[in-house]
Point group: C2
Chain length 336, copies 2
């Protein structure tokens, strides 16, 4: 895959985002979050998503000028309305508010209704740990995963993020969907002609399989841990909907291009008044590394990819980059 300089990627994205009606600091933030995802090796929720995001704004699924507003508060717990604005801006503001609440109350929680796809969930974990606090957040999604024991998609894959700060910057950031593989991952394996490393879903006969194409055909992706991930997905959806007062997965349009009105939860915890935690986290990391040469903590690989991207350039899919460049050129012409 070709590599391009981070700054070129970022500046191209600023132009596109601005042309969509998002301005100033907000445009730079959206561009940065897309660029950072690709920089960190998560192009599926970075550059690859930009054309779909642009279409969602143009189709009216995402309102580029809407910004989230608080609608209810009880101490360290707040409920915000995302007003169908850009999901990345909504999520970033919600986590920022949770961090502020945590500084005041030790822990803070913002439940966000009526928002849109937040792209890479890990972004908001990185945001929290870069502010020096623990971040936990999750989102519901459109129905895209059958519950354990069923063949029809009723659950979301509801990504969950858990982020633990370290003073040196080697933060721990777990970002995991409740499905064993995303549809994007299935597509990647299929294109490469590879079998999945472990079973990822069911084929047309209802048998667990490692064949990505067979799973794409049935759309019966497997929850992590079978019945366990199915239960956790359901519980996360319940919490997101009931705390925010927003939509549950069963109410969200089951089409990628129309998926809108999501519910999310952002929790931040600031244990700094209790004294340092660096030694505790570092000792756990050291013990993990001693277990096996290949044992890594969540986020460890990210930092390696990030460093490589900043030195050599950000890896991009040539076809996607061509489409994004075309959007950027179109934005320039529109601005003349």
């Amino acid at each position: 895959m070709p590599r391009i300089a981070y700054d070129l990627l970022h500046d191209t994205l600023v132009r596109i985002v601005t042309s969509l009606g998002i301005t100033g600091d907000d445009a730079r933030l959206v561009a940065r979050l897309f660029a950072d995802a690709s920089r960190d090796g998560v192009a599926s929720h970075g550059l690859d998503r930009v054309p779909r995001f642009a279409a969602a704004v143009r189709d009216g699924v995402v309102d580029p000028v809407a910004r989230p507003v608080p609608v209810a508060a009880h101490g360290a717990l707040e409920r915000w309305d995302g007003r169908r604005g850009p999901g990345m801006l909504n999520a970033h503001r919600a986590m920022a508010r949770a961090v502020a609440l945590a500084r005041t109350h030790g822990i803070g929680c913002v439940a966000l209704a009526d928002t849109n796809h937040w792209m890479r969930g890990g972004s908001y974990g990185w945001q929290a740990v870069e502010a020096g606090v623990v971040g936990i957040c999750w989102t519901n999604t459109m129905p895209n995963m059958p519950p354990w024991g069923a063949a029809v998609p009723r659950l979301g894959n509801n990504p969950l993020v858990v982020a633990v700060p370290r003073s040196g910057g080697a933060h721990v950031v777990l970002d995991m969907a409740m499905s064993q593989f995303s549809f994007g991952a299935l597509e990647s394996y299929r294109r490469r002609g590879d079998a999945l490393p472990v079973p990822g879903g069911f084929d047309a006969d209802g048998t667990l399989t490692r064949d990505p194409a067979a799973i794409e055909a049935t759309a019966r992706v497997l929850p992590i841990g079978y019945w366990k991930g199915s239960g956790l997905s359901l519980a996360l959806d319940m919490l997101a909907a009931l705390l925010s007062g927003g939509q549950a997965t069963h109410q969200i349009a089951p089409e990628p291009g129309r998926e809108a009105g999501l519910s999310q939860v952002f929790v931040a915890i600031d244990p700094s008044t209790f004294g340092g935690s660096d030694a505790i986290v570092s000792a756990i990391v050291d013990d993990l590394h001693a277990a096996a040469p290949g044992a890594r903590y969540p986020g460890e690989h990210t930092l390696a990819v990030r460093a490589e991207s900043m030195t050599l350039g950000v890896e991009v899919d040539a076809e996607v980059w061509a489409r994004v460049q075309a959007l950027g050129a179109e934005a320039l012409r529109g601005g003349e």
Copy 2:
């Protein structure tokens, strides 16, 4: 399996617990939590654990008279020291305090250091929902699960509980360890001569297997979702240790009889000031039930087992019940 009346089970346990040096309401609470676990179909963390609990008190691993104390507070976030007292009493007090904090601040968090095994984690989820609030809690454990990519147990199976209240009592309570099967479950399958329904760990050749005996021999149990459950287990351990200031998994003695000084986190959320959530949760449950006849929410099966236990008696393992009765008789003699 024989069935015995709940009251007989409970009263026998009160005698035993009292003879161990736990008195009054505390004795009745410990007895109730053990009895309730068996009543709800979780005998592995109910009656089956009573002999080991009695041994832990006699061996000095559990201090029967120690009670937890608050050591630091920052608004809605508190740190408590469990002082190696009975894990069930410590956990129950910690969740009760988190619930009180949630009533004041909307959300509350108690991190508990230096505690002992809490037996059935779900107990503290039921405690929260019976108080009408959301409950989330987890514990670390001794090292009993290899990280993904390693063959030696460095992670705990670190059970996570997520509980969502419903006004009718049909609460949603998810109680899941990060391993696909507990060692207790592996033993049950082996005794029945059954293969596991899905792969549960690695055999001596390092191959994933459904043979429970082969996994017991290597002790290489599988994290849920392979690398995902491995990462989540690590993150939960980090949070428990850093928020409580207590031990991480790598510091906990890796023997069931000596496992002590655990770290736990209890979170309660009270969204009641935002208005009712029953309709939201019920609609999610209805949608799940519509997916397939066998689709159940976490806790649904528990309620069915509970009702049966209260009508027909609580199922007990005959051998375990004989041992518990012997402990009860011994307690009576000691009290004369």
